[in-house]
Amino acid sequence: MLAALLADSSGQALAHASAWAVFAVGAAMILTGALGVVLLRNPVHCALMLVITLFGIALEFIDQSADFLAAVQIIVYAGAVVILFLFVIMFLGVDRKEAISAEPTRFQRPLAVLLGVVALVEILALSRIDHWSAGTPSQSGALSGPGSNVQKLGQAIYTGYLLPFEMTAALLVIAVVAAVVLSRRHQPSASEMSELDQEELLSARRFTPPDQGDQS
């Protein structure tokens, strides 16, 4: 194949060959990463393996000419979500090796096997039935017409899919509120500050600390 690349080959064959190469590399990265996530014992290593999977997915997006989505994949998932995972793993002190012999929930393992089989059958069935899930590019003609990938995406989101977009804002609000409620303890806002709180605040202002000296 290297010879084919170096030789003055026609663009069509070259594009075909490189598309296959990118797909193969991406698929290999996805599978390696996924296996690593499952098999490695150290949670931090697992998170890093997840990053490899995400990069593989970004490669597949590029293979499908969805360049903008590839960039988003890396920025949002690798650059933010897995960082959050790492924060949680490292900062909450769970970065030790897990004892996996203990089963947190009963029937977890048989259930996992069952769900895995169902998912596999589902994927295979979908790829037999429909073309869009088989990953054939441009079957639906999405990239036809002028304009770049980003422009098409923008056109779609901000005209045809405006309502889902605005609902995303609501989702983000819910996420903000949930994060605050879950991670902060009781936190009165000024409007609901009761008289007791006011008193407490004032008494704390008046409060005098113990002497650090030793004259007692």
Binding site: L14, A15, S18, A19, V22, I62, D63, S65, F68, V72, I75, V76, G79, A80, V81, I83, L84, F87, V88, M90, F91, L92, G93, S148, V150, Q151, L153, G154, Q155, I157, Y158, T159, L162, F165, E166, T168, A169, L172, V173, A175, V176, A179, V180, S183, R184, R185, Q187, S189, A190, A204, R205, F207, T208, P209, P210, D211, Q212, G213, D214, Q215
Partner: protein, 180 residues
């Protein structure tokens, strides 16, 4: 896809360079490991505890909120590219989105979720906080009597009783605590 070829080549080149110089360093550098050298560096003091296992939840909250803003920013890019076609309609729809996110942000701020460290208060001296808490990892220490009253510090070797009596107007912050 051929446009990504240079990037791929650059990654390969950087990797080769990094690998080569790592190998060079291994070949050229000495190998004399000692126990002290391989221990954690704490300015010469032998560590007695491992690194902290837990950190304030605030760091986690920052990462969480960052994801939310990251998603908003990502939505902004296709919009910004298409803005000249969408014009005032685009302005209105993004304004609606941004205002909703902004209000969520204002809620966050009004909750004190993004406050770090000691507070700056308007007017008056801050109450001295006596314990570390989740809102502050900084423990403020009351001012020593000597500094407040302008008396020279007691020499280190003098007995505790030899300390001069405080001046007639003691600082209220240095009074002993009333029974709680």
């Amino acid at each position: 896809m051929v446009q990504y070829l240079p990037i791929l080549l650059l990654i390969v080149l950087v990797a080769l360079f990094a690998g080569g110089s790592a190998a060079g360093s291994r070949a050229l550098g000495p190998k004399r490991p000692t126990a002290a050298k391989q221990g954690p560096y704490e300015s010469g003091i032998a560590p007695r505890f491992g690194p902290a296992a837990r950190f304030p939840v605030r760091f986690y909250l920052v990462a969480m909120i960052f994801i939310i803003f990251d998603i908003e920013v990502i939505f902004l890019y296709p919009w910004a590219v298409m803005y000249h076609q969408l014009s005032t309609f685009g302005l209105a729809e993004m304004a609606a989105f941004a205002v909703v996110v902004f209000i969520a942000f204002a809620y966050l701020v009004s909750n004190g979720a993004l406050d770090w460290g000691p507070r700056q208060r308007r007017g008056g001296r801050a109450p001295v906080q006596l314990a570390r808490s989740t809102t502050s990892s900084v423990r403020r220490v009351p001012r020593p009597v000597e500094l407040v009253n302008g008396v020279a510090p007691r020499p280190l070797d003098s007995p505790p009783g030899a300390r001069p009596a405080p001046a007639e107007a003691p600082n209220p912050y240095d009074q002993p605590v009333k029974s709680a």
